[in-house]
């Protein structure tokens, strides 16, 4: 009987365009779209920046000084530039503020003389921070010239540069790319799960309960010789399935955009993503996703049962949506980790556990505890749904 109801509701749901869009289309498309747009925007931005001809205003009364000569000898391939000479007393800030140059470099008089006498000169660089890349380019030019002139001084003083450096440091990062991913993007996967799991449940929960009431088919269904709990369970399976599908399709979309469309070309990240995508990872993730989605269905159904119309159900569920998203955000807060305490908080525990799952650092005890806690909450919510479904004031209007 449960299967009969499940079959019918699934068929009915799959014929609803709204549900299909929320369950499959949006989840599959969302990552390719976001990643596609952001990478194409950022690569085109980088390309533009790299090939952009930088206008450099040089404020000096001696255009043939060593600084200028070294600047001119930096090959074009290291950043195209166009030099413009101005007298030293000209207002450099004006040149920048009117955008007639991106960087203005003021070189003091007697620069060459000071260099020859081993005196330290003061160079001023004018730029606008909002002019992305200007400072980096100026720093690159300045460092290059500084090191050339410094080496000249070592030679002049007959010094071995290594004797001047007490020590150098090598920082060696031992955490795997996988762990780094877990820490930094790991919060993202549970977030995705929670949002899409929720959205996936939403329409069917309204359609299968409020909708059946609004369209006046519920009464007929309740006269059939089927215990009410079986009707509830049959319908609930469809709601849960839809939530899991939405989350799964979002995952599929994410991996499609990584693997097929190759939006991310960092081989280390790709390798880590591939190693995350193991059978163990996916099955454990679903182990956590199932009680989570049942819990979502279980808190939505009492609301959709008592709502009189689609609109009413939606307006009550919108704030609930925020109550779900807030704990999901916890995944992004650094420092909060899965412990015996946080594992007791529903939703938060799923977020933290899946983060650790990505990093491959999830202990079996915490996994088990998280699963148990979430299942307990799911069962509670189902019991609540069952109670509400039996209430006469909810089923007749």
């Amino acid at each position: 009987m449960i299967f009969t109801i499940f079959k019918k509701e699934l068929k009915d749901t799959l014929r609803d365009r709204r549900t299909l869009i929320a369950m499959i289309v949006i989840p599959v498309l969302v990552f390719p779209l976001i990643l596609g747009i952001s990478t194409s925007v950022s690569t085109s931005f980088e390309d533009k920046q790299q090939n952009e001809v930088f206008k450099v205003a040089l404020l000096t009364d001696d255009p043939g000084n060593e600084f200028v000569r070294e600047l001119m000898s930096i090959p074009y391939s290291l950043g195209p530039k166009e030099l413009e000479f101005h007298p030293l007393q000209e207002d450099a800030s004006q040149l920048i503020l009117t955008d007639s140059a991106q960087i203005a470099i003021a070189i003091p008089p007697n620069f060459d003389q000071d260099q020859a006498n081993l005196i330290s000169s003061n160079i001023t660089v004018y730029f606008k921070e909002t002019n992305l890349g200007a400072k980096q380019r100026a720093e690159f030019f300045a460092q290059h010239i500084e090191s050339v002139l410094r080496n000249k001084r070592y030679d002049a003083l007959d010094l071995n540069p290594t004797k001047l450096i007490p020590f150098t440091i090598n920082y060696t990062n031992l955490s795997s790319t996988k762990e780094m991913l877990g820490k930094y993007v790991g919060g993202f996967i549970p977030y995705l799960f929670i949002i899409f799991g929720f959205i996936g449940c939403l329409y069917p929960a309204i359609d299968l309960f409020t909708g059946e009431k609004e369209r006046k088919t519920l009464e007929t269904l309740l006269t059939a010789p089927v215990p009410r709990w079986k009707i509830l369970v049959g319908k609930m399976f469809v709601v849960v399935l839809s939530g899991i599908s939405a989350a799964s399709f979002a995952m599929i979309g994410l991996f499609l955009s990584l693997e097929v469309f190759e939006f991310i070309d960092n081989p280390k990240i790709l390798e880590a993503v591939n190693s995350i995508l193991s059978l163990k990872f996916i099955s454990l993730l679903f182990l956590l996703l199932i009680p989570l989605t049942v819990f979502f269905a279980g808190i939505m159904i009492p609301i959709t049962i008592s709502a009189k119309s689609f609109k009413e159900a939606q307006s009550i569920l919108t704030p609930v949506n925020f109550m779900i998203i807030l704990p999901a955000m916890v995944g992004f807060i650094p420092g909060i980790e899965l412990t015996y305490t946080t594992a007791l908080i529903p939703i938060v525990n799923i977020v933290l556990a899946s983060k650790e799952l990505v990093a491959d650092t999830l202990g079996i005890d915490l996994l088990f505890l998280t699963f148990l806690v979430m299942t307990a909450f799911a069962v509670l919510s189902v019991v609540l749904s069952h109670k509400r479904f039996g209430r006469e004031s909810n089923i007749i209007s």
């Binding site: 009987m1 009969t4 109801i5 019918k8 068929k11 009915d12 014929r15 609803d16 369209r215 006046k216 088919t217 009464e219 007929t220 269904l221 309740l222 006269t223 059939a224 010789p225 089927v226 215990p227 006469e392 004031s393 089923i395 007749i396």
Partner: protein, 259 residues
């Protein structure tokens, strides 16, 4: 056979309902200690003005609502003790019944056939019989959303009858229907009587009741004011026509109450 014994139904009112009613009463008695029996092969009519308690009574018999006190037996099965067996024996149709818009008549009939546990062969025979009787073959594969009111009505009837119920309950079945569509219902009721089924239907229109019923109960404010055969009703009549007599009985009670 339907046996209603000292049935009462009291609704707990929600805060919202109390506000709407403009009263502080926590409960509302929709049906107050009523008893009647509907026999097989006869058509029983529950006649009463709006708000009399007809829908509540029929819903309690069809096991959508639980009785507050008293009992209902359908073909011998008590609706509280053996709810599923009782429901298996009932076909329930209301004037405001909806259908699943995205399914086809074939799919809806198959769904309810399964829900009522109809065996495959019996189902096919029964479906063929109903589709032919109601002339449904032309649109049996179109989605409900594309069907006319008349076609939908036929689907509802087929859905109600697919498990060949011994007891058929109609709640104001012709309300909102045009004359031709209403005629389907009238034929259906006559058919059911011929086949020896127990038919119970509610109405607020005396002429409709007169056309169809063998036994009559007049219900008003949750109480049964008159319960006898249609012939007995005609014989005891004090007014010039049936409708006037129905109004007289209802107003009589209201007067007694006031006094």
């Amino acid at each position: 056979m339907i046996e209603v014994n000292q049935l009462s139904k009291i609704f707990e009112l929600t805060k919202k309902q109390r506000k709407e009613n403009n009263s502080n009463e926590k409960t509302s008695t929709a049906v107050n200690n009523i008893s009647f029996t509907c026999q097989p092969g006869r058509v029983f009519s529950l006649l009463g003005p709006n708000g009399a308690g007809k829908t509540t009574t029929l819903r309690t018999i069809a096991n959508i609502l639980q009785p507050t006190s008293g009992s209902v037996k359908v073909n011998g099965f008590d609706t509280v003790i053996a709810p599923e067996q009782a429901r298996k024996n009932i076909g329930f149709l209301t004037g405001s019944t909806g259908l699943y818009e995205r399914l086809t008549p074939n799919e809806i009939i198959a769904y309810f056939g399964e829900l009522y546990g109809v065996e495959k062969i019996a189902f096919e025979t029964r479906k063929e019989y109903l589709f032919k009787l109601l002339d449904m073959h032309d649109f049996s594969n179109k989605r409900i959303g594309r069907l006319s009111t008349g076609m939908r009505q036929k689907v509802s009837i087929a859905r109600t009858m697919i498990h060949d119920p011994q007891v058929v309950i109609f709640d104001e079945p012709t309300s909102g229907l045009d004359v031709i569509t209403a005629e389907n219902i009238i034929q259906l009721i006559n058919n059911c009587r011929k086949q020896g089924k127990t038919v119970l239907f509610s109405s607020h229109i005396m002429s409709e009741v007169d056309l169809l019923c063998d036994d009559l109960a007049i219900i008003h404010k949750g109480e049964i004011l008159f319960n006898a055969t249609m012939d007995e009703f005609r014989n005891q009549m004090q007014s010039k026509n049936l409708t006037a007599e129905f109004i007289r009985i209802v107003q009589n009670q209201t007067k007694t109450e006031l006094a």
